[in-house]
Symmetry: C2
Subunit: 360 residues, 2 copies
């Protein structure tokens, strides 16, 4: 039954997806005499972790019970006291842990703390699934950079736009709705200034209740952003950060006035150093980026092998013409093609979504 209750904990965790960053969204289940007596999921940053929520629900029934938790409980004082203390104090008899927390402040020490207190601990359940569930956090901790997701909408023949530049809409409403959900599950949505100026996109998450809004990051090397664009005009409602290498005081003054945050980083001409871009986002404890970049900027992320996962939405259209996705990301030969691991397909009415992890 251990496997089953870990799955229940994973399902609980999903309730917090995109809602407790930079903390990982963990799930917990407390079981006593074959009955679930407490369930929990990580609350927004600074509030209770999943284990605490579950213990609070279980109350006295936690005594002698088994706690299932998708990731190792913390044993350090962060924004909240260590979960291990609460688990020990509640009289939990056994703890079943999905995966260890690679965070150096925990990393096995949470488990050790519990064992030292005489609690039986089992580790390693549904590891592949949990590693995938927590992929943003795990990348953030182990690679010290945010997890990068590339999203694109292509025609059946692989075009991102028609030869006249038009691209509204390649994908259907179901696909676009799915993209809004994706936006609500990441910390950052990132686009280049050309897309922002051309498409006048808002890049926020819409169409769902109780929604997390990502930080909107625009790469705008020489500050060419249209100050009348929707993204600038909505900056007071939806946080927006412009990264640039310009020192144009006039535009900077106007951006300040409109509530747009801006940061000067290294770059040259119309290019910014992407590693620095990821650093800036990492330093802000933002663990995931959804790239809604145009073709040129997408190519740059692919060239630097920074894309961790991709979501390709195929619209029901054949377009022809020269606007082929990733044209300059030329792999040269079929044996050098990039495959996607764990590839998945999902039908969205007359569109199909392909998801996978590039293997460079």
């Amino acid at each position: 039954m251990d496997k089953y209750y870990i799955k229940v904990a994973m399902r609980n965790a999903e309730k917090s997806r995109g809602k407790c960053s930079p903390n990982p969204f963990v799930g917990a289940t407390i079981v006593k005499d074959g009955k679930i007596v407490g369930e929990g999921n990580t609350q927004p940053y600074g509030q209770d972790h999943a284990e605490i929520v579950a213990l609070k629900e279980a109350k006295d029934q936690a005594k002698g019970a088994t706690l299932y938790v998708t990731m190792e409980p913390c044993c350090h004082y962060g924004k909240t006291p260590p979960c291990t203390d609460a688990i020990i104090k509640a009289g939990i008899k056994r703890v079943v842990v999905g995966i260890l927390d690679p965070n150096p402040a925990v990393s096995g020490m949470g488990v050790q703390t519990l064992k030292d207190a005489g609690i039986e601990v089992s580790v390693g359940y549904s590891e592949d699934e949990i590693n995938e569930q927590l992929e943003y956090y795990l990348c953030y901790i182990t690679k010290k950079r945010p997890f990068v997701i590339w999203k694109t909408a292509l025609t059946l023949d692989g075009r991102y736009a028609a030869s006249d530049g038009s691209s509204k809409w390649i994908s259907n409403e179901s696909s676009r709705k799915y993209v809004h959900r994706l936006r609500s599950q990441v910390d950052v949505v990132l686009a280049g200034v050309n897309s922002v100026n051309m498409d006048n996109a808002m890049l926020n998450a819409r169409g769902f209740r109780n929604i997390n809004q990502p930080l909107r990051v625009v790469l705008d090397p020489t500050l060419q952003i249209n100050l009348q664009s929707a993204i600038v005009k909505s900056a007071k409602d939806f946080p927006t950060l412009i990264l640039h290498h310009s020192s144009d005081p006039e535009t900077i003054y106007r951006l300040d006035d409109m509530g747009v945050e801006h940061l000067q980083i290294e770059g040259q001409d119309d290019v910014l150093d992407l590693d620095l871009v990821l650093d800036v986002i990492y330093e802000r404890k933002l663990n995931s980026i959804l790239l809604e970049t145009g073709n040129r900027l997408s190519e740059a992320f692919w060239h630097q092998e920074l894309v961790d996962k991709c979501f390709i939405f195929y619209g029901n259209k054949i377009l022809g013409g020269d606007k082929s996705s990733l044209r300059n990301y030329d792999r040269g030969g079929i044996d050098k093609a990039v495959e996607l691991s764990k590839i998945r397909f999902r039908r969205l009415k007359d569109n199909v979504m392909v998801v996978g992890y590039p293997q460079y």
Copy 2:
């Protein structure tokens, strides 16, 4: 129950798919007192039609029974005597017909003949499904040309080859197996001479038992075919027709010698008149063509809006580069994109197949 038994008849029909051309592959079911007493499907050209097979199985039980047949029974002498005669003679009481046969030699007259003999006839069941099941035949009869299917294998970013020209293999084994099945279900597989010379493809159907072999047609305007290619060398085992506008006696002599059929039609430089190509195939009573054409010839079929159905196999690969599918079939704007009706998706391991009907 009429709908149900028509579906049973449709399933019977499938057994003859690709095996009785130029006759449509029809299915029949005879039901008496709620029991199936006879089933049939069209036999190879010149042999029994579906109704006759079912009647032979039902024997005396046909008397007073209901016959379900996917398409209107014939009432004319073709290679075989009219089915209506046999139905009447067997004492069938009621006939349920999926769709009428648009063939002018039948077209409602089959039904009328049965009615005149005092048989109750109902027409119009599962029409959409049967129209699709018999789409090759229906196109052949109503448009007086074969049904044209475009098959292509693309990478996830819409490339038909890498920039160095390599394309083996974009799709996986499951996809390629599916293509062999497709080949066995059509009358003709068609390719351009460049693909034949470059890929040295056999273009026959392999990997299944009891398989129908399509006629292999190569468009080779100026007779450039490599006489050592697999297709030429196998011409004595698998029928092969080369269409050209050349008059090179040397090559023609060699082709004759190797058992390759050839036919001179109109054309100019390295282009043949595609309407004439379809005419030649139509005149041979071949009702369906699977295009396994390279990009340039594919574009020509698309430009002339001759593609009736497409099968796109997406391999799990990202390639980049300039070999984009249908580059010169430029629709210009997103509002002029071609959509596929009745679009369907099928996962083939890590590939996905998209099937649909272009709406020009």
